[in-house]
């Protein structure tokens, strides 16, 4: 249940960037959420909808893109999608995959007026 804190982080960033760009209204906030970020998307949306009230993001829609879990083998250097949280390289016998994507928690962009 850390989604309320995350929603506050999203709103802070959105209001900050909107203000810097002299926006009157935020129509859409797009996030990038990694598959390994441990975020419950419905809860995040619910939290965001609760705290945005009365701000210029009052009507803002939350759009969430997901980033897959990807690892790079420290031995052969190849990149693989990671299934079932298996961090061993499927091609090298003992290569370990270093996590290069999947933990993203980012505000990607805003649509403002």
């Amino acid at each position: 249940m850390h989604e309320v804190g995350l929603a506050e982080g999203v709103l802070d960033i959105a209001l900050d960037y909107a203000k810097r760009n002299d926006a009157k209204r935020i129509a859409e906030v797009t996030l990038l959420i990694g598959d390994m970020a441990g975020v419950e998307k419905d809860t995040l949306e619910f939290a965001f909808d609760s705290i945005k009230k009365g701000t210029i993001a009052n009507d803002a829609k939350l759009v969430m893109h997901t980033a897959p879990i990807v690892g790079r083998c420290q031995k052969c250097g190849k990149e693989f999608h990671i299934d079932h949280y298996d961090f061993f390289c499927p091609e090298c016998s003992d290569g370990v995959l270093e996590l290069i994507s999947g933990r993203e928690l980012q505000v990607e962009s805003l649509e403002v007026e």
Binding site: M1, H2, G5, L6, G9, V10, D12, I13, A14, Y17, A18, N21, A23, A27, L31, M36, A37, G38, H84, Y85, D86, F87, F88, V96, L99, R103, L105, Q106, V107, E108, S109, L110, E111, V112, E113
Partner: protein, 219 residues
């Protein structure tokens, strides 16, 4: 007219900036800082009690206790004469870096070798928050079930050491010790996995040796 603004800002950016500031401070003060995590009731405080018994005469320790509402854990630590600072999150499910920054105002870092931060009992949220620690330790008790590493992957992925606790009651539990160990190592190749019984003090030597080594490594 609608305009798109490119942002690319980390949602936890503020927390992470404070965490980095803390990590630099701890490095400068030569203090090893451990984030101790695990479910409610997995044995984190009992592990700390056994750790203090073994190390407090050789290593200057302090503890930060994260708890939702009570000071029950801090009271247990206080009995060992180790400085302890209580953080009550008032229902919050994890500690964050600004909380630690405030808590260390009450700790003399110049005299410290080891700071253990016992996080709020929870396998989900604490994993997401960098609190300026150098390493993370996770306690999983066998009564929780051997499926938990794969159900809470981030927690186990980011740990440097995992203690499988309560092995003294293994024969009463349907817990596959080898299977759980394999799952943890699949998620996190290279992690140390130690079967222990904190209440009996069994199997703790590798844990204590690891802690001593970590403390030495920051001197």
């Amino acid at each position: 007219m609608a305009v798109t603004i490119d942002v690319k800002a980390d949602i936890l950016g503020k927390n992470d900036a404070v965490a980095e500031e803390l990590r630099n401070l701890f490095k400068e003060k030569h203090v090893f800082v451990l984030d101790l995590m695990g479910s409610p009731g997995c044995g984190k405080t009992t592990l700390l009690e056994k750790t203090m018994q073994a190390l407090k005469d050789d290593i200057n320790m302090a503890v930060i206790e994260g708890d939702l509402f009570t000071s029950k854990d801090a009271d247990r630590i206080d009995r060992y004469g180790v400085p302890v600072v209580q953080i009550n999150t008032a229902g919050g499910c994890h500690l964050d870096a600004p909380m630690i920054k405030k808590a260390i105002e009450n700790i003399d870092l110049d005299k410290l070798d080891l700071l253990v931060i016992e996080n709020v009992g929870n396998l989900v949220c604490p994993a997401e928050f960098d609190i300026g620690e150098q390493k993370r330790a996770v306690v999983l008790s066998i009564t929780e079930g051997d499926d938990k590493p794969m159900k809470y992957p981030l927690m186990f992925k980011l740990a440097s050491i995992v203690l499988l606790n309560k092995t003294d009651i293994l024969k009463f539990c349907n817990f596959n010790l080898d299977g759980a160990t394999e799952d943890i190592k699949t998620l996190n190749p290279g992690v140390e996995v130690l079967p222990v019984s904190c209440s009996l003090g069994d199997g703790l030597k590798p844990w204590l040796d690891w802690l001593r080594e970590m403390v030495r490594s920051v001197k």
